[in-house]
Symmetry: C2
Subunit: 329 residues, 2 copies
């Protein structure tokens, strides 16, 4: 049996101006992971006060993941990796607290403990296969931080159509200095890398994945460059089992996923949801917004396996219609 | 769509000698709600260290509920109504903390807040129908307490074959005195009744049910006398919508459910899982052990609706086999 695991958390890195589009503005962005979890769990918002959209109104990829779930059917599990706002979705705790700004000396003090608790959870889950996704605004910047700390030459994608790569690199150079760490200095010390340069979601995804792989469970990481950073953490923890990254064409068109997945000895599956050429809100994906998140690439792989890929676009619009269009784009 | 909601919590009332059989001994009993939640969610134990069984080895009714879920398929939600031990099952919080001994002056200070949070959750869940069950060792005693506080003449069942009714009544008379409350004095003040004489699970079940009913969601209370006490709380909160109690023959054979459900304007459905005359561990149910719990009566109703009642016994044995027989009976 396959279970979809959403690892949901926050980092204050998302407050840096121009870093993230995962929420209409910085104040609303903090609700995005809680809302994404509710959407995937219920197909409705339950406690979250606002539909997660980008500043231009591009809907959250969680709507895509939910649409796949409604067509294909899969069990879910949401892991609380440092949520700050309450969610109506049921969550499992692993001792993670919200991440501080990556430019702090130690932005994720709970990372090592959360890694261990998530690893134990991953070892004990009874499923044959896990598809693991993330929701954390600002997460591509901390993913870059982790890769720099590990010395992995990683691509960096973005939820924004114009990826603010220069800003992210500048933030991470400041963060390395603040943590008194040279690039690559945390190689093969993944918990140190994520504690000093990462976010709590990366710690939990990596720990959960390591534990699942060690206990013989197959793992598909559903996402883009954040999940690649998690894969790097897993490899640097000495876990060598087969591992798959399932992403979308939107990420693959933006950055070179093939080289890094090959370097990390991961399989790469890229799925195209065929949102191009549409005259509705999904066209924003084809324009390079959002791209990934909330396990969208993993969900699309499950849809493809079930020969239900054609139904995803209509299903996503149905979910969006149900939760209501935001009043202000 | 139907969702099964397990409200899981604890009360120190369970530590009173001779009160409960929901766990092999008082030290292990505190794990029972966490383990029940994992069983229903995963069909396996994930974090709980011990299979919940009675002192004689009678398996938890959660195994029956899980067996039905594996045959029928339904969405689940576990609400944390004051767990003390960690659970690997995902939970939604409503601000409940573990209940203190009912003989304290105010055993459930979080009851009014948890009621309101659970009511809001119940209002916002998108489902057509909820089946609500409970897991809280010691809960039949606090259910008696709530009924006494409300002035409802309720039956009291037990997880023990010889129901320690005299002990429960004595405990509740002490509890009424400790809370400076006369019998019936909390009528139509349900939050006061559950705060002074109840447990956190009753507060959450009642709040959730009230909210769901108010928003047009059908509710089936799956259980015995504890769920009857929750129904009494709902009625005393002025919520008059149709409400069903779904129980087992084992409870119905032990106490008069018909009169109280009629008094509370609730429909009563009693389902017989046909565990009688078996030569395996399920025969203990026919001998009057456990009887109910973890929404078993509600799950059996769902099995009956799906014409899958015949498969429940074998399915339950399969679940028990999978989680392992406890080493010490």
């Amino acid at each position: 049996m396959t279970r979809f695991v959403l690892v949901a958390g926050t980092t204050e890195t998302a407050k840096i101006d121009g870093i993230s589009a995962a929420g209409a503005d910085p104040d609303l962005r903090v609700h995005t992971p809680s809302a994404d979890a509710e959407l995937i769990e219920y197909g409705h918002l339950v406690r979250a006060p606002v539909v997660p959209v980008s500043p231009t109104g591009c809907p959250t990829p969680a709507a895509v993941t939910r649409a796949v779930r409604e067509r294909v059917g899969f069990e879910t599990l949401v892991v609380d990796a440092g949520l700050v706002e309450p969610t109506g979705a049921p969550t499992v705790g692993v001792g993670a607290t919200p991440g501080r700004d990556v430019r702090d000396a130690e932005p994720v003090p709970t990372a090592p403990g959360a890694w261990v608790a998530a690893r134990d959870l991953g070892r004990n889950l009874p499923d044959d296969e896990l598809v693991v996704g993330e929701t954390i605004p600002g997460g591509t910047t901390t993913a870059l931080g982790v890769c720099r700390a590990l010395g992995v030459d990683a691509a960096v994608s973005s939820s924004l159509p114009q990826n603010p790569v220069a800003l992210k690199r500048e933030v991470i150079e400041t963060a390395l200095a603040a943590s008194d760490l040279d690039p690559g200095e945390a190689a093969f010390r993944p918990r140190r890398a994520v504690r000093l340069l990462g976010d709590p979601v990366l710690a939990v995804v990596a720990g959960l994945t390591a534990g699942a792989l060690e206990s013989g469970t197959d793992v598909i990481l559903g996402g883009g460059t954040q999940l690649l950073a998690a894969a790097a953490l897993v490899r640097h923890a000495g876990v060598a089992e087969p591992l798959t990254l399932a992403s979308t064409t939107y990420v693959a068109d933006d950055v070179d996923l093939a080289t890094v997945t090959a370097d990390l000895d991961c399989d790469l599956v890229v799925t195209d949801p065929s949102f191009d050429g549409r005259d509705d809100a999904l066209a924003r994906y084809a324009d390079g917004e959002a791209k990934e998140g909330a396990g969208m690439g993993g969900a699309l792989l499950l849809a493809d396996r079930a020969n239900a890929l054609d139904a995803v676009a209509d299903g996503t619009l149905e979910v969006m219609e149900r939760i209501g269009t935001p009043h202000e784009p």
